[in-house]
């Protein structure tokens, strides 16, 4: 059997394509849910870490440190295989979304914290001086500026989250990777794996380009 037939077998590819596309859809869905949930909770965690009452700040700091230390795969296995022992049973999709969101939240919180801290002190003072409440000065003055600062690292984090969704295949999530390994077993041919790798690249390469674009844009604007 030639190399082409082994790795780029057209009929195997066509046969596996529906399954691969189904997996791609689940990967994108899981990624999107985790990214959005991670950003919202990450922002709240950053605000708690920076401005909460002291006990809340401590809790937020510990959460961020622990979740950035634990390997995602370990957390995922804990959520899916260990939690049922205490009566918490979640589907593989929810387990994966929860685990990925928890980790993404910690990273996003650190990104937002750095962004908020990079907004000059004078901006906070000017907002205070016109009488804006804390929430409004965040909403209208500080966060719009912080968002601009953190767009490149935030996009970078989105890429990591999307890539991490592949780990969900270990908890029997029929995501892109899982579909590909199943199709490979079925056809006794690695072409579906190549196809999956290609599909990952198809969605992630543009995002990687986007980060580079943001970064060079950011450099231009700050010089």
């Amino acid at each position: 059997m030639s190399l082409i037939e082994t790795f780029f077998n057209w009929s195997v590819f066509v046969g596996a394509l529906p399954a691969l596309l189904e997996g791609l859809w689940i990967t994108i869905l899981l990624g999107t849910v985790s990214i959005v949930a991670g950003m919202v909770t990450g922002l709240l965690t950053a605000l708690a870490r920076l401005y909460g009452p002291t006990p809340l700040q401590t809790v937020a700091r510990i959460y961020i440190d622990v979740l950035r230390s634990i390997p995602l795969l370990v957390l995922l296995v804990l959520v899916y295989y260990a939690l049922p022992f205490v009566g918490i049973r979640m589907s593989s999709f929810v387990s994966a979304a929860v685990a990925i969101t928890m980790v993404s939240c910690a990273y996003t919180a650190e990104i937002f914290r750095a962004g908020i801290e990079a907004v000059p002190k004078g901006q906070f003072e000017a907002a205070d001086a016109i009488g804006l409440s804390f929430i409004r000065s965040m909403r209208y003055v500080v966060l719009p500026q912080a968002f601009r600062i953190v767009t490149p690292p935030l996009t970078s984090n989105c890429i990591n989250v999307l890539k991490d969704t592949a780990l969900a295949s270990v908890v029997a999530m029929p995501d892109l990777l899982k579909q590909a390994t199943q199709a490979q077993a079925l056809a006794a041919n690695p072409t579906p794996l190549i196809g999956a790798a290609f599909l990952y690249l198809l969605i992630l390469l543009p995002l990687v380009r986007l980060v580079s674009y943001f970064e060079s844009n950011h450099r231009r604007n700050t010089h």
């Binding site: 004078g122 000017a126 016109i130 804006l132």
Partner: protein, 244 residues
């Protein structure tokens, strides 16, 4: 009638270092008070205490009878005290118009159309109506500071505080900012101004306050203050700054 700003026995320290010692100062409604003194004399710190950008450790400050302190009423007090900063501190992500309109919109809850009309009116007043759509980065330092003055005015404050408003400006832009301030003073706005511009103080102030090492050393009307200062330290300071 009681004074608009009443400062009594104000003490402020950074850690163990006390930078303001028992300051007493009153500002009447409509008065223009210029605070002068050497760098590090505490004059900026003093006016930053008036809207609690700096916490103070002792004494009281009242604005229009309301005590300036942490708590639910702080935003209300701050809305009545406009401030212009040395480094402008315009919001870089908003146009000149939106910088000015933000306070009316988000503090006083005005409608957008009303807030924008007011903003345009105030930008007109500081001579920048044609630049309303520009972002701060597209404006010169002097223009930015004039927008900042319009922004402070937009809250229709009872008093305006100026913290060295011309110190960060290129020399050729100082005049346009002082001009705007002078015309404001004529309209009866209460102003407390920290500045090194002695000529401006002489022309515009109703009263000049001289601070040194965290104390008010001397105060008086400009003619007496500049021509016949009583205290030796005032004389030394004036001699140093007026010589060149």
């Amino acid at each position: 009638m009681s004074a608009l700003i009443q400062i009594e026995k104000l003490r402020k320290s950074y850690g163990v270092v006390e930078v303001l010692h028992d300051i007493d100062l009153e500002v009447q409604s409509g008065e223009v008070v210029v605070v002068v003194g050497p760098s590090g004399s505490g004059k900026s710190t003093l006016i930053r205490c008036i809207n609690l950008l700096e916490e103070y450790q002792g004494g009281t400050i009242r604005v229009d009878g309301n005590k300036v302190q942490r708590g639910a009423d702080l935003s209300k007090v701050r809305a009545e005290v406009g401030m212009v900063f040395q480094s402008f501190n315009l919001f870089p992500h908003l146009t000149a118009m939106n910088n000015v309109a933000l306070g009316p919109l988000r503090v006083r809850g005005a409608h957008r159309a009303e807030a924008e009309r007011l903003a345009l009116e105030l930008l007109e007043k500081v001579g920048l109506a044609a630049h309303a759509h520009k972002y701060p980065a597209q404006l010169s330092g002097g223009q930015q500071q004039r927008v900042a003055i319009a922004r402070a005015l937009a809250m229709q404050p009872k008093v305006l505080l100026f913290d060295e408003p011309t110190s960060a400006l290129d020399p050729e832009m100082v005049g346009e900012v002082l001009e705007v301030m002078q015309s404001l003073a004529k309209t009866g706005v209460t102003m407390v101004i920290v500045t090194h511009e002695m000529g401006f103080a002489r022309r515009v102030a109703n009263r000049v306050v001289f601070m040194e090492a965290g104390r008010v050393v001397e105060q008086g009307v400009p003619e007496l203050f500049f021509n016949a200062p009583k205290e030796a330290r005032t004389q030394a300071f004036l001699k140093a700054v007026l010589q060149h």
